[in-house]
């Protein structure tokens, strides 16, 4: 009886001392990798699916709000002008409902006219992801700063 009580007490103690389960976080690199791969594949359907309904896009003096405007004025307006997008991470962070990655990017800029040279675009980026009510991670903010596009020699 006594050993049974000790066993019970020990079990209760272990249960009380166990750490709570870690919150369900996300691997932000995986999210961004999906996003960049969709850009390089010019997969607008997938890109649209990754945007939150209230997504914000900020670049220089441009500010687009909402999925429809961002999809139209950023993604569709840009996707055929670039290729070979690459990102390099400087900082990341995640918690239960928020994840971000910031860093630098480089991309090939395609000429609009065959007489024009190709360019290499570089700049800084910040992509902020939020978990929505359905527990899906969606892009909530994209902030880009582009540097002058150099002629590709």
């Amino acid at each position: 009886m006594k050993s049974f009580l000790n066993l019970l007490l020990g079990g209760a103690l272990l249960t009380a001392c166990s750490t709570p389960k870690a919150p369900d976080t996300v691997n932000v690199q995986t999210l961004n990798q999906q996003f960049v791969e969709a850009w390089n594949a010019k997969n607008t359907v997938q890109l649209d699916s990754l945007l939150a309904d209230d997504v914000q896009f900020v670049q220089g003096e441009a500010h687009f709000s909402g999925k429809a405007e961002v999809a139209d004025k950023w993604i569709r307006a840009t996707q055929n002008t670039i290729s070979n997008l690459k990102t390099s991470t400087v900082s990341t962070g995640t918690d239960a409902s928020l994840a971000y990655e910031a860093g630098t990017f480089s991309v090939d800029v395609l000429p609009e006219d065959p007489r024009l040279p190709r360019g290499t675009g570089t700049g800084n980026f910040l992509l902020l992801w939020k978990k929505n009510a359905k527990n899906n991670w969606k892009l909530s903010l994209a902030q880009l700063e582009g540097l002058p596009v150099q002629v590709r020699r």
Partner: protein, 172 residues
């Protein structure tokens, strides 16, 4: 005899110089070269006559020729600087006209697209590309070759991300 040769030389010089200036003077009075040559010639002749006391005629002629030459060179330098300033101003004006033309075309294409839906917006954009392409492509290629950067097609367009940048910054 020697004096007459000098006189002939200076008369010939002035005749050639002033003959060359005649066109410029027709346009806008005396050219800087003419002004410089005349002022230099007169000043040099006076100085030469004063300096060479033994033969004031020869002194005047030599001084006049030297002064006219120096005055012409100074006037030519002034004229070159003035022409360079005018060329830069004309180039800047052409660039501004070109940018305004592109912006007007862009606004027209956008406005026509707004009123008539997607099809006419696409048609407007195509028309814009076709009309602006010959000017834009050659200018842009020259700009890129000169600077090593792509030009900003949306320079002056307030809806763009970088409307005040001479270089294209929008890539991704």
């Amino acid at each position: 005899m020697q004096v007459s040769r000098w006189i002939f030389a200076i008369v010939l010089f002035f005749a050639l110089a002033l003959g060359d200036f005649a066109h410029a003077q027709d346009r806008q009075g005396w050219s800087p070269q003419a002004k410089g040559a005349v002022i230099g010639g007169l000043g040099g002749a006076a100085a030469g006559a004063l300096i060479n006391k033994r033969n004031r005629a020869v002194g005047g002629v030599v001084g006049g020729v030297a002064g006219a030459g120096i005055g012409y060179a100074i006037g030519k330098h002034t004229d070159n600087k003035r022409k360079e300033r005018a060329r830069i101003a004309a180039e800047n004006a052409a660039i501004a006209r070109n940018a305004e033309y592109r912006n007007a075309e862009y606004r027209n294409a956008r406005n026509s697209g707004r009123g008539n839906g997607t099809a006419s917006r696409a048609a407007g954009a195509t028309a814009l590309a076709a009309s602006a392409a010959p000017v834009k492509a050659s200018d842009a290629a020259a700009f890129a070759d000169r600077t090593g950067y792509l030009p900003n097609d949306t320079n002056g367009n307030r809806d763009a991300a970088y409307p005040t940048s001479e270089y294209r910054r929008k890539s991704w």
